[in-house]
Symmetry: D3
Amino acid sequence: MDFFVGDTVFEKGMHVRRSVLGEEHVNKANAKINEFNGDFQNFISHYAWGEIWTRPGLSKHNRSLITIAMLIALNRGAELKMHIKAAFNNGVSKDEIKEVIMQSALYCGLPAANEAIQTAEEVFRELGKN
Amino acid sequence: MDFFVGDTVFEKGMHVRRSVLGEEHVNKANAKINEFNGDFQNFISHYAWGEIWTRPGLSKHNRSLITIAMLIALNRGAELKMHIKAAFNNGVSKDEIKEVIMQSALYCGLPAANEAIQTAEEVFRELGKN
Amino acid sequence: MDFFVGDTVFEKGMHVRRSVLGEEHVNKANAKINEFNGDFQNFISHYAWGEIWTRPGLSKHNRSLITIAMLIALNRGAELKMHIKAAFNNGVSKDEIKEVIMQSALYCGLPAANEAIQTAEEVFRELGKN
Amino acid sequence: MDFFVGDTVFEKGMHVRRSVLGEEHVNKANAKINEFNGDFQNFISHYAWGEIWTRPGLSKHNRSLITIAMLIALNRGAELKMHIKAAFNNGVSKDEIKEVIMQSALYCGLPAANEAIQTAEEVFRELGKN
Amino acid sequence: MDFFVGDTVFEKGMHVRRSVLGEEHVNKANAKINEFNGDFQNFISHYAWGEIWTRPGLSKHNRSLITIAMLIALNRGAELKMHIKAAFNNGVSKDEIKEVIMQSALYCGLPAANEAIQTAEEVFRELGKN
Amino acid sequence: MDFFVGDTVFEKGMHVRRSVLGEEHVNKANAKINEFNGDFQNFISHYAWGEIWTRPGLSKHNRSLITIAMLIALNRGAELKMHIKAAFNNGVSKDEIKEVIMQSALYCGLPAANEAIQTAEEVFRELGKN
């Protein structure tokens, strides 16, 4: 997948990815790139970050809210943790995260909401926001 | 579940439910209430609509966006259709619905997004918004 | 999969399957057996019905309750319909079905419970139990 | 969400919650209540424990069985562990838990059942019931 | 998303998409392109078909098998139907489809496999392959 | 479930299970057999390994590919890890595993694929294949 080299969508994607997930996260991910995972890393920089997260139709703030909502529903705890962290970079408040979880209690069920509460509290502790 | 009678939370809930889902939808649901489904209908009016949808921490507009996001992820087509319709009553635009679906392509997968596109287009046709 | 011929587990399985799903349902399924689906039909008669549904550790009544609970959670509407029908053959009451659905509202979320309410009401109409 | 204070549904809910999950569990949960999770804790005491677990139409024993069934299907391991523990407080036997898991092998698939077996064995070790 | 215009990946994608899903299917999809769904249609032509389905590391035959396997697990019936049809264009046989479904009975559960059997039989009837 | 003793399906099943999962894995599982999990262990030796994995219609190589595909979709990480390991015993290459994951990014979503990448890399490290 070397078609990405010098490519604007990739550059835009890496820029958004760094601003949303944070420099440190992306640097760590880059340091782990190898022959096995490299194509996937390039793919998401284009496909997710370059194409979709850059679209003007929805603010990054609201993209964070709906991404958190989807990850709670999908039962993907590790990715949820990453996107709760990222949400702060997009201006989402602790209170808004709480409301997404309260709403998820209704639609995704209580176990989903309960796990999300705990994941969010882990993030707050790691970020010193508890 | 007659504890709801004369209950302020229930009254608030019915009010919000009517404003979000529309008079017609709620009247239809009420006309179908019977011994089997009545407790469930009261339960959601009180808890979903009275307790959660009325919370001030997130706008109804944003509650619509995250509800749509969760329903795409959960693969619940009939409820998704209802909440895409309802979203218009909460000031969500067609473009925002499109962006939620584009974002869902990344996190929920392409089949989920593809079904959501078709569900949304059905709603637009029914509402004369296509 | 002709290892089933003359096989006691298979015979027991067909017996339980007929008593739970009803003669008519099983006869219809048998009439549709062909080269493509035959192995699957034999497989479930032997293993699902012959091995598991015949186990003494849980009554058929309670196996019906937990099967309905799992099918609501799994979002498998057609199979749910079949097992709500079957539950009556295992002595489950309408009220118990209602309670499984109320409980599912908590754990599986409201859209799951709402669909189950509607599926159950369809069954009641078909069986003249509404 | 201070509407709960002095409220019968809340009192009933806390009573059932303590009898099902155990004093120790509920005391621990209460000790962790903070501004972020407090509304959720209050919500489930009402919504889940006060309204649904107290309903007379299904025994607590059978509510435990169907809750376990749903949690296996939903792939929610931590909540499953909690409800396998709780099931003993509702008079469920090890053999019944085994049968719910055997039945789940059919409907939820072998990986779901396999994880449930391991979760149950963890609980048995913790409770000295292995 | 006009970055696709004159884009080689997009061209390759459309070519593969036509060869896998069939001219008729793609022409129908193209005829329905509008302002709402156009970006999504372009997105999948570029990324799904242009980037992934064209990768040399796995034959189109095997990509069909794993796609069918994933769609059974994901409970996405409409997309499953489309990919069972498409599988014939990739040289998959009825017998292989049967084996994927038998295998899915183990991992995804019997209701998933049962629905897949019925979806496959619908496809066979539509293609005159029953 | 002692109906299995001296039974050909069981013998065939144990043989395939050992060749696919490895002697060590099966010996460990056998050493943990007890009154609680024994029926389940016997059940899968018959149902999964004896009946399905032995069927001639699909190579073990391709059964590994579709099993991995289903486990990614089903979000069952522990079982996925076991089947990525097993895949090497069935002649699957690292490159093919990578391609299944790339394909899953499209259909199951990026979080599913991302977790699968990490699970696969864990396996490679454990097997000295990184």
